[in-house]
Structures are given as structure tokens and as C-alpha cells.
């Protein structure tokens, strides 16, 4: 009984290590075949459309509402200290540093990452990938690498749009509805947000999240068991694993980037 459970723990760990190794080999293969997909750039453009442009609406609407909530909650708290004028820098800093990159990548993972996994997984289940390999078309160069680069390009752009919409939402609630002074809202924001320290670090975060989310989504799809059940399991795993990876990496990156002066 004890030996049995020990064996199952060992089996799980060996399996997990094997999968990590397989995933990193998969990542290296994507980088290796990227040159080919850059030569056929319209493949990447098609994927930017289906993952980036189609995620625009959810990103913009979510950003607007997140900014509006930040404006309301921030105002409620700052009012106690008589510091309502700092609302602008509160909204902008929390969006640019944390909420923009993290929520943008989480939304991208559930909107576009799951679709990537399902698409690749179904292609594998219906033997389209084997057929491609049979026709001497490299499936990684033709299917996987363009999707990878589309994700890596889309996520930082979506994050920037999310943050801008959030600041706009905070402005609507704070200045237009509640009546915080407009001048101090913007000037405090500009005094509080540094371009290199805050905005550039946020963009680096979102680029890292873009790489991680797309690699997880593509790997899960490519590795999915070729059954209906297998594809649905892989889609679930994509969303769960990429969400956890985003939050974990966010902590690591924040610890390195914002460790104080």
C-alpha cells in the first residue's frame, strides 16, 4: 500500500519532468523554425488576426471596467486621507505595473490560448498534422511557429491597449463622475509614473507572459491525446497552467524589477 502510493508519486514526478523536457525541446524547435515562418509573413498576420484582433473587444471592455473599479475603490480609500488628488497616480501605477500585464495575459490565455490548443489538438486528432508531415511540410514551421510569433507580438500590444483603456476608465469615474480635479489627476499621474521604471518594465513583463502563454498553449495542443476527451483536457490544462505560470512569473519578475532603490 505504501510502496504503491510512493510509486504513483514517483511516476507523477518522472512524468512531469519528462513533459518539461519535451516542452523545452518543443520551444527550441519553434525558435529553430521561426526563420521559415518569418519568410512567409502572411501566415503570422493571419494568426495575429485570429488571436490578437479577435481579442481586442474583450481586452478593451475589461480594461475599461477594471479602470473604473480602480477609480471608485481608490477614491473611497484615498478620501479618508484627504489625498483624492493622488487618484491618477494610483490608477495609472497599478494598471501599468501589474494589472495591465497580468490581466491582459490572463484574458489572452483564456480567449486565444485555449483556441490555439483546441485547434492544434483537433488537427492532430483528425490526422491533419500527420498528413502534413507526409507531404514533407514541417508542421512546426507551418502551424506552430506562426502562432507563437503572433502571440508574442499581440500580447504586449493588447496590454498597452488594456492599460490605456483602464486609465481612461479611471478618468471617467474619477474626474467626470466624482469630480476629482482634472489638473491634479493628470499631473500626479505624470509625476508618479516613470517611463523606464514603470512602463518599460510592464511591457517586458507582458512580453514574457506572451512567450509563456503561447508556448504552453501550443505545446498542450501538440501533445494532446488524439481523442475528443484528450483535446478537451488539453484545453483545460492550457488555461489552468498558463494562468498559474503568469501569476507565478509575475511574482518573480516583480521581485527582480521593483526591489526598491
Amino acid at each position: 500500500m505504501i510502496i504503491e502510493s510512493l510509486r504513483s508519486i514517483g511516476h507523477r514526478i518522472v512524468n512531469a519532468v519528462w513533459r518539461i523536457g519535451y516542452a523545452s525541446r518543443f520551444f527550441m524547435l519553434i525558435l529553430l523554425y521561426s526563420g521559415v515562418s518569418f519568410r512567409r509573413f502572411h501566415l503570422i498576420i493571419k494568426e495575429i488576426f485570429s488571436s490578437g484582433v479577435m481579442s481586442l473587444i474583450i481586452i478593451l471592455v475589461a480594461g475599461l471596467f477594471v479602470g473604473m473599479v480602480l477609480g471608485l475603490q481608490g477614491y473611497e480609500t484615498l478620501k479618508r486621507y484627504g489625498a483624492e488628488s493622488a487618484l491618477g497616480s494610483l490608477v495609472a501605477l497599478s494598471l501599468v505595473r501589474e494589472l495591465g500585464p497580468v490581466l491582459g495575459a490572463l484574458l489572452f490565455a483564456s480567449r486565444a490560448g485555449s483556441a490555439m490548443t483546441a485547434e492544434i489538438g483537433l488537427m492532430k486528432a483528425t490526422d491533419q498534422i500527420s498528413a502534413m508531415a507526409l507531404m514533407a511540410i514541417n508542421p512546426i514551421a507551418r502551424l506552430v511557429a506562426p502562432r507563437f510569433w503572433a502571440g508574442v507580438i499581440s500580447v504586449p500590444l493588447l496590454t498597452a491597449l488594456f492599460s490605456v483603456m483602464g486609465v481612461f476608465g479611471g478618468y471617467i469615474v474619477g474626474v467626470v463622475l466624482i469630480g476629482v480635479d482634472q489638473g491634479s489627476f493628470w499631473s500626479q499621474m505624470q509625476a508618479g509614473v516613470d517611463f523606464r521604471y514603470d512602463i518599460l518594465n510592464g511591457m517586458i513583463k507582458s512580453a514574457v507572459f506572451g512567450v509563456v502563454v503561447t508556448v504552453i498553449a501550443l505545446f498542450e495542443g501538440y501533445d494532446a491525446p488524439p481523442t475528443a476527451e484528450g483535446v478537451s483536457g488539453a484545453t483545460t490544462r492550457t488555461v489552468v497552467q498558463s494562468s498559474l505560470a503568469i501569476l507565478f512569473l509575475d511574482f518573480i519578475l516583480t521581485a527582480f524589477m521593483f526591489q526598491g532603490e
Partner: protein, 153 residues
């Protein structure tokens, strides 16, 4: 969907993304206040800089004229050495007074320059001799309590 409409949408998306980044840099961030005009360097020694940070602003009569470039501890004088970059357009007399001030009650700290009456001007690399340190709240409270105790005696 045809290839041209696809290209159009992706183009709109990419342009909008970069526009958002520009808005973040210029309207939300402080990239617009990084002045690209030429600067010259001045030094000043303070016995206590309080919460002054690099990139803090330097003002004269309330007008932004430069930024703090570097703060370090001088190991011979045991004083904080503050390197400042001042806009070339503004010249200050030799006996200019440098103060560490606070904007508002709890705001950021900055350096205020009060020009003196000297005829000669500070040149690049010069040191501002007359400085006043930052107000530290604990010291103020300590002085206040001390004077109260003396009054009651």
C-alpha cells in the same frame, strides 16, 4: 475573409497598440518631461538629504530647471554628494543657496535653488557651497520637546 481585409485589421491593431504605448509614455508617464536640451553639471554636499531620490526635480522660484543625476556618500567628508544636471539656459550666481524642500506636507522632496547676489556665475562642475539639509520630522519633534522642557524650567 480576404487577405486585404485581414491585412487591414492587423494593421489597425498594430497601429492602435503602438498608439496606446505612445499615450502611456507621453500622457501617463513622464517621458515628455525628460528634456532633451543641453545641461551642465553642479555638485552640492548636504549633511542630510532626507528622502531625496535621483531624478528628483530641481526648482528655482518654483520653475523646473533640472534633475538630480546621482546621489552618493562622500567617504571623506561623510556628507551626501548630490550631482545635479541644470538646463544650460539658466545660469546661477556663485553664492546660490541650495535647499532640500518638500512639495506639500507629504509630497516628494526636491532641491530649491535661491540665487545670491554674486557677479560671477557657477560653471559646469562647480560646487554649490551654501546648502541646507532636509527637514527631518524626528529632529523637529525633538527640538520642539527640548524647547518645551526648557520653557517649563
Amino acid at each position: 475573409m480576404t487577405r486585404t481585409t485581414l491585412d487591414l485589421w492587423v494593421g489597425i491593431f498594430v497601429v492602435a497598440g503602438f498608439a496606446a504605448l505612445t499615450v502611456l509614455a507621453l500622457k501617463v508617464g513622464n517621458l515628455s518631461t525628460y528634456n532633451t536640451s543641453e545641461t551642465y553639471q553642479l555638485q552640492a554636499y548636504f549633511s542630510n538629504i532626507g528622502g531625496l531620490k535621483s531624478q528628483a526635480s530641481i526648482k528655482s522660484s518654483g520653475v523646473l530647471i533640472g534633475r538630480v543625476a546621482k546621489i552618493s556618500l562622500d567617504s571623506e567628508r561623510f556628507e551626501a554628494k548630490v550631482t545635479m544636471l541644470i538646463d544650460k539656459r539658466y545660469q546661477f550666481p556663485k553664492d546660490t543657496f541650495a535647499n532640500i524642500l518638500t512639495s506639500g506636507l507629504l509630497g516628494e522632496q526636491y532641491i530649491g535653488l535661491m540665487p545670491g547676489g554674486d557677479e560671477a556665475f557657477l560653471k559646469a562642475g562647480d560646487e554649490i557651497k551654501k546648502t541646507q539639509s532636509a527637514m527631518v520630522l524626528e529632529d523637529l519633534i525633538g527640538k520642539f520637546l527640548y524647547s518645551k522642557a526648557e520653557d517649563s524650567n
